[in-house]
Point group: C2
Chain length 243, copies 2
């Protein structure tokens, strides 16, 4: 059983301020909990339904586990239903990522929607992109809606939040940026490594960052839609990058 | 001012049963309302804030308009905020689409999430795909969350709901289908026209429809994610189709 105090603590971790204070975040649902347990993340506790804990007893063997009902999991979390569990996980520190000379790094300039960030992390993971650098205003990766939308990919993709202007000012690799008027990605050769900058949902890439972009690129349009959602555009660009 | 009766009527149109009864659906927010007015759809009424109605007086000239406050628009609609308007629009009948010999048609097998369907319609519009055939269990296109996610593209893409097994049984063009284990789309030649079947969010393409697919195709994976969201996969496949 989840005590009132435990439920209140888990619930508080939906808010960034309390995650920062405690150094913890929560992971909800079977897929994400199992991915967290199977990853380098430090899982401090799993609250699970009796059937979830029993079914995964082997993989959960080294983790402190406690039984909780579906109702308790829902009231302590952000899901409308949860017949599996919630993991309490230690939040890693925000540390600069060591970029290798042969890899592409995603750069997110103020992506605000949790679903979009989570989906972008899942897309990056699909395409083997392991690092994402985010502006300070980009939504927090440890927001439970972001974690949920990653479908476990948060365990394989590292994020670093910083001042992007300063960061890209020090970059010594091509900086591609997604714009409505750029080079057609169906017709260009991509460099072997570098950065790919994606902009805010409504404003796109900011003027300050535009100045750091060395090559503007575009997804060709064949119909009437004015734009594509940022997670959709990221996926299409990664697919073009990797072919 | 919106009367209580009008507000109640608009609100009722969030439910499919009432849309069917009245033959109407609602379109919310500046972008979608203006796209509806500028389209072949029959807009019966626009409820708008005084500033929205004034700013777009010219394009709204032939439409019956009524003033409403932001608060009234929110309470009569599905948005958390709406400083523009709501349009009451006549719902077109569900009629079979005439497929030309040189076009690609999307086929959706039981896509359930309104945000996914809306995003798929927007993606189809971006790539110049004008027709989508949906299974009877696919979420209704006139659901306000679907309309909202299309960002106006619902005015340029036609949908038809039917029994897909029977429909594809009569198809005399290639039927491509998205599967995790299919031909790598980075290495294959696409036919010039045909159908592209996308499956349900968790179950993928059903067995019954799999039997109608003439070519299974896949987006190559470079990392650890197990799958891609259906709207993301649709966008990547459309991009490959159109290059």
């Amino acid at each position: 059983m989840l005590t009132k105090k435990q439920a209140k603590f888990l619930k508080s971790l939906q808010i960034k301020k309390y995650r920062k204070e405690s150094g913890n975040f929560v992971v909800e649902g079977a897929k994400n909990v199992l991915e967290a347990v199977n990853s380098p993340f430090v899982v401090e506790q799993v609250y699970g339904t009796p059937s979830f804990l029993e079914e995964h007893a082997e993989i959960l063997a080294d983790i402190p586990c406690e039984e909780a009902s579906e109702k308790e999991l829902v009231s302590a979390g952000s899901f409308a239903s949860n017949n599996a569990g919630i993991a309490l996980v230690k939040m890693p520190r925000n540390v600069p990522l060591k970029v290798q000379g042969d890899e592409f790094v995603l750069v997110l300039d103020d992506v605000r929607d949790p679903g979009n960030l989570g989906t972008i992390i899942r897309v990056a993971d699909w395409y083997g992109i392991k690092k994402i650098v985010c502006s300070q205003d980009t939504v927090d990766v440890f927001n439970p809606k972001v974690i949920s939308a990653t479908m476990g990919s948060f365990t394989r993709v590292s994020l670093y939040y910083c001042d992007l202007e300063a960061y890209l000012g020090r970059a010594n690799a091509p900086v591609l940026g997604a714009f409505l008027e750029g080079e057609n990605v169906h017709q260009m050769e991509f460099p072997k490594a570098g950065y790919l900058v994606m902009g805010n949902e409504s404003k796109g890439v900011s003027e300050e960052l535009e100045a750091k972009v060395t090559q503007k690129i575009s997804i060709p349009r064949f119909g009437g839609a004015e734009s594509l959602n940022v997670a959709i555009a990221t996926a299409v660009l990664c697919d073009n990058l990797k072919r």
